[in-house]
Subunit: 351 residues, 2 copies
Amino acid sequence: MRGQGQSHRQSASATLQEVARAAGVSLATASRAFNGSATRTVRPDLRERVLAAAAELNYTPNANAQAMARGTTNLVGLVVHDIADPFFAAIAAGVMRAADEHGLIVTMGSTQREPLREVEYVAALRQQRARVLILAGSRLVDSEIFERLGAEVSAFQAIGGQVAAISQPKLPVNTVVVGNRAGAAKLAETLHGLGYRRFAVLAGPSTLLTARDRLAGFRAGLAKHGCVVPGDRVVPGEFTRDGGYAAMSELLHRGTDVTCVFAVNDVMAVGAMAALRDHGLRLPDEMAVAGFDDIVTLRDVTPGLTTVRVPLEDLGASALRLALEPPAEKPRLQRVRGVVVVRESTPDRTR
Amino acid sequence: MRGQGQSHRQSASATLQEVARAAGVSLATASRAFNGSATRTVRPDLRERVLAAAAELNYTPNANAQAMARGTTNLVGLVVHDIADPFFAAIAAGVMRAADEHGLIVTMGSTQREPLREVEYVAALRQQRARVLILAGSRLVDSEIFERLGAEVSAFQAIGGQVAAISQPKLPVNTVVVGNRAGAAKLAETLHGLGYRRFAVLAGPSTLLTARDRLAGFRAGLAKHGCVVPGDRVVPGEFTRDGGYAAMSELLHRGTDVTCVFAVNDVMAVGAMAALRDHGLRLPDEMAVAGFDDIVTLRDVTPGLTTVRVPLEDLGASALRLALEPPAEKPRLQRVRGVVVVRESTPDRTR
DNA sequence: CTGTTAGCGCTTTCAA
DNA sequence: TTGAAAGCGCTAACAG
């Protein structure tokens, strides 16, 4: 192609220089024809010529070159625990929607729930000079690797990157805080109001703050009514469908007289329902089940799952907006509360 | 400019130049210390010094600068119809898994099922000089905008980008072809074997090739047994949960004597089941339902949904591998077949 | 309003 | 092995 084929690349795209030449203007004018602002204007006819030449040559600006020259990109890096989990898929959808409105490109990393990979992704995003970093998903209690994440995030900020997190305000960055405790407490009170008294909790991983908060909130809500969940009715497990299935199986295996099970997220709740069925129990008559999140894809399970609705897409969109705010001295927090949604999985026992 | 801190940027990261200076070597040597190959080696002690200096300065290569200098990036652009749809989320997971193995970064665009946005995303990815483009999701019959997509894809290839598609082999690129026809035909035969004779199809959008192929395959499968689906029992609709709900409602509204409904994807099938329930029908006794895809998140619906399993994650991983293959004269096709999975939603009527 | 020119940070000849 | 220097494509002073 150009350069009479002595390029080592297999092919190349037209450059601004070539467009300028074709339009009979200087490089600078060609650049201004595209980026022209109030201060840097181009005579209309020249502008036309440049645009025409660009179209003719099928020119597209090289984003990498622009990034170099401008010293900034329009890349948003989103890090999630597991993109195949509908929880994160919904958040991702929200981030992408908001990114679109700002003309930003979203790149995504899925850590497969491996904390170290989160650190690696942040490093990769720093290398890409991403403008925005969004960390979605619960923090862990493990402080060792949390340190490293913090260091990496600081490094990202140090070169001018903007950051937001979704979950707990553990990092010194703007974060969208989900009202896990309050939501779970409200759920507990609602269930108590429906007449339930003997509860078990499928509690998720004990290292996951979100899981811990939901458990704590649930207990706090029950405590208001003098009701407790004994330790042997709190079963830990993975934060996944299979984790819910396993935890529920474990509970059934132990034998129990509980009438209502709270799984700390919907995905686990669905797994728990499957385990209950496989165990021959009829739902919801022989066991009530509640979850958390109100995952859209799961709204059609039967019996309909009582849960706490969290506006996941909005979470993603809000996080991007927060990240884009001009940096302040103190990180900003935006709290989002969940709303209890009662469905058929927890029928009213008081009547 | 950035001479003595009069840069307009708020901050900057250490550059290779600075690392080189700190290590007391030339820029070239510093570069080689990182990228060193067999031909371009660096004396071990110098190498050490460079690496130490880099660590000291918290240096990270600027990917944009590397892209400029090398003329190539390590960006994979993935375009999906809707990331919140578990179908695409699974594919995305597969792509990311495979990308990881190659040290590639994945950026994602979700078109919200708006064909024009697909074109825009491809344009954006060309601008980013992405190395790989993966187009996931059914092609449409609409030729007008298909032309534009084709042109944009060609432009992408023209500058050296590698492309793969997932769905139908309509574009002249490597593609992972899903055996929609064969899978639906097999499903039809299976259902016929279970004793069903009067079918309806919730057919999805008539412009979507995947939807059309599944309908055609289903009919072909039934035809083998002398069974037909009359036109008035084929109800179009959106390719979503709500589309399935609406189509099923429409069918029920018309009044019908069918005993089994085939929704052309699982998400629609779940919507259809909800509609059937809302209409007071008991499943699966009063109506059998089958879907297509075997979405993981939906494996726990009740009654368990009979469907055609498509290995979605593998689809994504395969697509990336295909895209990465050295360009050949002819686009390569990789066919993936679905496997019928019979569950409780279509009980055996023959006994 | 337009053109010239100096970088942005890095890779890669080409000489030494 | 190492270093000097020429770009990669673009933006943004700066001078006309």
